[in-house]
């Protein structure tokens, strides 16, 4: 069974982002970019499945500008066998288009499992996995914190992080799984593996070749900074704190 893992290149999670003065978006030039943390977890999970002989091949796929190949190299250095890059140029690709492109790749590669992160930490959408699953009519196991594959029965048991606790479901393969933070601890790529990754294959497509039109029915009107909180004060004792909460903030 092949496993397809979708990875996204985003502004590094530790970077304090800056909104552009013209309100057109967030500054991404000369900002450190990395693989989305949830995608790293997705990649790690796929690699562990392969190491447990539950999968034969792990394919990483990324959609976006030419620099996405760096993200794919990271995935290859972690241990992915090969990669697919759908070059969308400079245009913004919204989740619905991403989902349609992923569907096209799934139809080409015919994987038994598609793993994604539960959300990208830039747009915070939390949509793509659910949308591909819907388009493919595959079952979905979102926000997974534990996945057990049963190769014989072609079933995955997925433990999901939900509002009230942990939910366990069983889904038939092929399926879509999206990862939550606690699924695993992603590995670091070692230098030899980074070198090896350079010789691995990255296949290129354009959205047109996959017959996906990059139109969107949402448009970003503006991006602004959130309102700033007014400066707080440092107090000296618990008594003072209780006094402030009671008489100034009136929340007790």
């Amino acid at each position: 069974m092949k496993i397809l893992v979708a990875v996204k290149r985003v502004v590094d999670y530790a970077v304090k982002i800056r909104v552009k003065p013209d309100k057109s978006g967030v500054e991404t030039n000369n900002v450190k970019m990395s693989m989305n943390p949830f995608c790293e977890i997705a990649m790690e999970e796929a690699l562990r499945m392969k190491e447990a002989s539950a999968a034969s091949e792990v394919i990483a796929v990324s959609i976006g500008p030419p620099q996405c190949t760096e993200t794919l190299r990271t995935a290859l250095a972690m241990g992915a066998d090969r990669a697919v890059h759908v070059d969308a140029g400079t245009s913004t690709v919204y989740p619905l288009s991403v989902a349609k492109i992923l569907r096209a790749i799934v139809e080409l590669e015919k994987p038994g499992l598609l793993i994604l992160g539960k959300q990208a930490i830039d747009d915070d959408c939390n949509q793509t996995g659910q949308m591909v699953a819907g388009l493919l009519k595959w079952p979905q196991g979102t926000f997974a914190s534990k996945v057990i594959l049963d190769k014989e029965r072609q079933v995955a048991t997925v433990e999901r992080e939900v509002d009230g606790g942990l939910e366990t479901i069983s889904i038939d393969l092929p399926a879509v799984i999206t990862t939550d933070l606690r699924l695993n601890q992603p590995r670091y790529a070692t230098l030899p593996n980074i070198m090896k990754a350079k010789s691995k294959l990255i296949k290129k497509f354009t959205p047109e070749e996959l017959k996906v039109e990059l139109s969107s029915d949402v448009e970003v009107v503006q991006v602004t900074e959130p309102p700033k909180r007014k400066a707080g004060m440092i107090l000296s004792s618990v008594d003072e704190l209780l006094d402030k909460l009671k008489n100034e903030a009136r929340v007790l």
Binding site: Y13, A14, K16, I17, V26, Y94, P95, L96, A99, K118, I121, D124, C125, N126, Q127, T128, Q130, M131, G134, W138, Q140, T142, F143, V162, D163, G164, G165, L166, E167, T168, I169, S170, I171, D172, D180, L181, R182, D217, V218, E219, V220, V221, Q222, V223, T224, E225, P226, G232, M233, I234, L235, S236, V238, D239, L241, L245, K246, A249, V251, L252
Partner: protein
Amino acid sequence: MNFLANLSGNGRRVIPGLASYRALRNCRFSLLSPSPTQYPSPFSRLVRFCISTLVIGEHEDGFVKPSTLSAVTAARAISQDNIISILLGGSGSTLGKAALHAASVHPLISQVLVADADIFRNPLAEPWAELVHMLHQKSGYTYIISASSTFGKNVLPRAAAILDVSPVTDIIEISEPHLFVRPIYAGNALCTVRYTGSDPCVMTIRSTSFSPPSCSTDVVSNAAPISQVDVSNFNKEKQKSRWLKLNSQNTERPDLGSAQVVVTGGRALKNAENFKLLEKLAEKLGAAVGATRAAVDAGFVANDLQVGQTGKIVAPELYMAFGVSGAIQHLAGMRDSKVIVAVNKDPDAPIFQVADYGLVADLFEVIPELIEKLPEKKRL
């Protein structure tokens, strides 16, 4: 006029509650009929006057959840003239009770749709997304809304893909019927988006940004009609997913997402035993307990208590953070709290930049002192 009336009824089952509403609407339409120059085609008038919303509801113990009622508030924020239907699914007596609750909880809810089948008892995305799709085909909604709960986040994007529209998730503000504000980059930027696609506009709303309508007791007399949805086809299809179990954290404290007061502990609490101290404080305050990712990963508490970009988003009246450094990802989940208190030994901790009141002190000294001094305060 007739043409419009016919169209507005087209494809929809006429429901008693709606019929009188429509009569009123048509009456108002004729009174306020705008000049043709203002609204060039009959079609645009139709768009202007027929807004209908399906709210995907969640219920528990026979009551509609507060987050679902927040979604109703959001539906009302789109337009005062919104015809709101609320969908509840499941089986058994709690479903019936929840339906009665939904019917009488808010005067704007004009219809309660009930999908009574075992398959909807548990929140599986596949049948729920199909159900939403089926209802839209039948009734043609302008909007489909749910709260950004794990249920809503799981189901709505799938339903949107089946309907071939882009969903807009985690909305915090509705500026115009198709203009929404949503946080991006862990709440460090606010993005205004315009939905330009066809109906329905599928969205999830952040419930802390839309207060649920206050429940009044005297609306029972004009309760909304409850209709059963024909779900006979659902059990025939082979299901590709099965629900096995839910390990819930039984707690008597208020729900983290809707609590008025939240006390949160970070890594500095050192172990699960010390978290009990925090729980004691929470009891005194009638507060919910939250945690940072570090505390959850270290196994101090269960994951469903995590507050942050990837956990729960809270906006209580009072948020007290003990031993929390204030990473970007944590701030994303609590920065909209009304009053933020931080207790931390490190005076340079980023949490102090958002706190209204800060105490640079050892939490193991502060918490017992708070516990000791709080009841006296309450008695005064």
